[in-house]
């Protein structure tokens, strides 16, 4: 039977996936074709959405950039006349237009994303789903499970990078009448969407990972804490959990063993700090999400004072694979201290923006140029931002750096949860640091003085610098404040908040100096430090900019070179955007 799968992750839906899905439904009915129409998660190629895969007689054809208008032709030519529309196909047994994006990836976490229908448990079971938990319940003791995860070398994928097996062991070792397992799905870093895609594309893998963890540490109750901003992920998780209860995979006496587990979803309410584990637990308890001092660690005293194990979505999604394939296989991937693969969300000034999974140890250049296809509009690669507001900017000169926990940390950035934002020559690093400080300052919970006030002062200094009012001594003041905020904050948010400033100062200090001393923004980004001008060579006097200018600052006769009155110009940039001849220039 013919099978048509439409990519309906958030990225697919934003690109019009639901409209395409409905059009297929209508067209199939209209032509009375029997074919199975199904939805699937994101396969990582967000830049090619809407993706539609047609499976027919053991062959698969992946169509990219499908629009409602293209559906009719696909049905007519491919489905009715068995004549695939080759110009729109990017992958089949004879076509491979996206080889460079796919060939160096190794999919463990994303193994089922874009392959199965996440809302149908049968599809997950058919490809070996829930085999790992059965294997564990039949053949493994708790210690053996922990041992396997320890030996695999799996480290926390939420950003901390702590050994997962070790974490499980600590919780296992604590004696208590009740223990909890929590999945941290409060993916808050702007620019990171790995966990969202995993939950949308393969929720059962995460649930199975949680079950294995719960069995290993001796927990009988679990929570998944998901951002409220991820409505689709919540919906798919709810479906998956309900299916598990129905099948008896959750509840009492799971797979006829003595293992019991209940899993509930807790929706976050919009606070970045709740990604920190102690704040997250406070939030589940219904309180303000404010972190507390550790120790005691959650493994000793966590949710409602009981031993609790918290792992990230991606970490859990790795677990069933490790159990089924053995720790040796996982251990063989990656570098000495960073094993396995890592999922990255590629975004920013990159050609192929999407989700990739690569073995640890690949270089930054290999990911950006090999897989990501290089920089948009072939501009110059300037830096890559890793780890979101807690991370930093790694300059292009370090492009040969291997991606693993230790190498990334040595640059001053952090591996983080996997956001990889590519920056080009038009990105101002001072402005970017300001952007992140604005974020952390907004999201600081206010408990620690240095985080609450220090980030505010740092933001003010950065605002001054980008407004052309920077003074000598500002850089030193930023460094001094950074140092104090790092050492006097209780949780990861404050301890890492200065990182974006520190790394940009480390690698792009001259940009700060240019802003302060020469009152220039080398990237031509900071409004207060640039002037718009019209090039006498390129301007043909078409008058488009005159019409667009909201303040009437541009004058000039038709077919003659135009002129900007700097006194009236508000630097909104509209003339720059609208000019087709590149005649408007920034100075």
């Amino acid at each position: 039977m013919k099978r048509i799968k439409v990519g309906l992750g958030t990225c697919g839906i934003s690109a019009g996936g639901e409209l395409v899905y409905n059009k297929f439904k209508d067209e199939l009915l209209k032509h009375s074709v029997t074919a199975e129409l199904s939805e699937t998660g994101c396969n990582g190629m967000c830049y090619e959405e809407v993706l539609v895969e047609i499976e027919w007689e053991n062959k698969s054809f992946l169509y990219s950039k499908v629009t409602v208008d293209r559906v009719g032709k696909i049905i007519k030519e491919h489905i009715l006349n068995n004549n695939p529309v080759e110009k729109w196909i990017i992958k089949s047994d004879t076509i491979s237009k996206e080889e460079s994006f796919l060939k160096d990836q190794q999919r463990i976490v994303l193994r089922n994303c874009g392959e199965i229908n996440p809302a149908v448990i049968k599809e997950y079971i058919a490809i070996g789903g829930y085999d790992a938990i059965q294997k564990v319940l039949q053949d493994f003791s708790r210690e053996e499970v922990i041992d396997t995860i320890m030996k695999s070398g799996l480290r926390g994928r939420g950003g901390g990078g702590f050994s997962t097996g070790m974490k499980w062991r600590f919780t296992f070792n604590t004696q208590a009448d009740k223990k909890y397992v929590i999945c941290n799905a409060d993916e808050g870093d702007p620019g990171a969407f790995m966990d969202r895609s995993i939950l949308e594309g393969d929720p059962h893998a995460v649930l199975e990972g949680m079950m294995i963890a719960a069995f290993a540490i001796g927990a009988d109750e679990g929570y998944i804490y998901v951002r409220a901003e991820y409505p689709l992920a919540i919906k798919r998780l709810k479906i998956a959990i309900a299916q598990c209860y129905e099948k008896g995979f959750l509840g009492k006496k799971i797979f006829n063993s003595n293992f019991n587990l209940e899993i509930k979803i807790k929706e976050g309410a919009g606070a970045f700090v709740c990604g920190e584990e102690t704040a997250l637990m406070a939030s589940i308890e219904g309180k303000r999400g404010v972190p507390r001092l550790r120790p005691p660690f959650p493994a000793v005293s966590g949710l409602w004072g009981k031993p609790t194990n918290i792992n990230n979505v991606e970490t859990f999604a790795n677990v069933p694979w490790i159990i089924l394939n053995g720790w040796e296989k996982y251990d063989s991937l990656g570098t000495e201290n960073s094993k396995g693969t890592k999922v990255f969300a590629l975004a920013g000034k990159i050609k192929k923006s999407g989700l990739v999974e690569v073995p640890m140890g690949m270089t930054i250049n290999e990911v950006i140029f090999g897989i990501g296809g290089g920089i948009k509009e072939d501009k110059k690669f300037k830096a890559v931002q890793m780890g979101g507001p807690s991370g930093g900017c790694i300059p292009a000169s370090l492009g040969e750096l291997k991606i693993d926990y230790d190498e990334i940390t040595s640059t001053g950035a952090i591996m983080g949860s996997g956001g990889l934002i590519v920056l080009d020559e038009t990105t101002c690093m001072v402005d970017l640091a300001k952007y992140f400080l604005n974020f952390t300052q907004n999201e600081s919970c206010g408990k620690c003085t240095f985080c609450r006030l220090g980030t505010k002062r740092m933001l003010e200094i950065l605002e001054r610098i980008t407004a052309g009012e920077g003074k000598e001594g500002d850089i030193e003041l930023l460094e001094d404040l950074s140092d104090k905020i790092k050492s006097a904050s209780l949780c990861g948010l404050g301890q890492t908040a200065p990182n974006p400033v520190l790394t940009t100062l480390k690698y792009f200090r001259e940009e700060y100096e240019a802003h302060i001393r020469e009152k220039k923004c080398p990237a031509h980004n900071c409004n207060a430090l640039i002037e718009y001008d019209i090039s006498e060579i390129y301007c043909k006097g078409c008058g488009l900019c005159v019409k667009t200018c909201p303040t009437g600052a541009i004058t000039g006769k038709k077919k003659e070179v135009h002129f900007i009155n700097q006194g009236l110009c508000t630097k909104c940039g509209k003339c720059f955007d609208v000019c087709n001849l590149d005649a408007v220039i920034k100075n």
Binding site: C46, A192, A269
Partner: protein, 168 residues
């Protein structure tokens, strides 16, 4: 049971009531109660806070503290249509600032404000997670990507004519 003086009784308060019954006395349910209250009323009305306080035995001040801590909760209702502009990193480096300026100009409101006629509320979000389409905004549940100022003008114009024709 509590009275809903200033609210439209016909609104979907059903879910909230069910939630209240299910979660009565359950520990840690405050945030989910507030979420279902907001789903039902569009914001969290004062008398609902008082009612939850009575029910849970939690002081009103504590509940107010929780409401103001989380950015999702609102004490005032929003406009008919909600525009969310993404301020994620990918959007930021791809020119979200210019788009936001244009949006504020077109709507005549700044972030977190509702237009006078109650048609639009403009909100900013940390990241919508559609980084490959940056810069992005959402009008209600529809996402619009790869925005430029001219594309934004067109989108708003289309949306406005669509909503006015629906009213007619």
């Amino acid at each position: 049971m509590f009275e809903l003086n200033n609210l439209n009784e016909k609104k979907e308060i059903h879910n909230f009531k069910i939630d209240l019954i299910n979660k009565y006395g359950q520990k840690g349910s405050l945030i989910s109660l507030l979420q279902s209250a907001q789903d039902s009323y569009g914001c969290i009305p004062e008398n609902v806070i008082e009612y939850i306080s009575e029910l849970e035995g939690t002081p009103v001040a504590d509940i107010y503290g929780v409401i103001t801590f989380y950015s999702q909760f609102r004490l005032k209702p929003l406009g008919k249509n909600i525009i969310r502009i993404c301020e994620g990193t990918a959007c930021h480096v791809n020119g979200a600032k210019t788009v936001l300026q244009e949006l504020e100009e077109q709507l005549g409101v700044t972030v977190n404000e509702t237009s006078e006629d109650g048609t639009f509320t403009l909100l900013s979000v940390a990241c919508l997670g559609c980084c490959s389409l940056a810069p992005v905004m959402m009008i209600n549940n529809e996402t619009f990507g790869n925005l430029t100022t001219s594309k934004l003008q067109k989108t708003l114009k289309n949306f406005r004519s669509k909503t006015t024709s629906e009213i007619k």
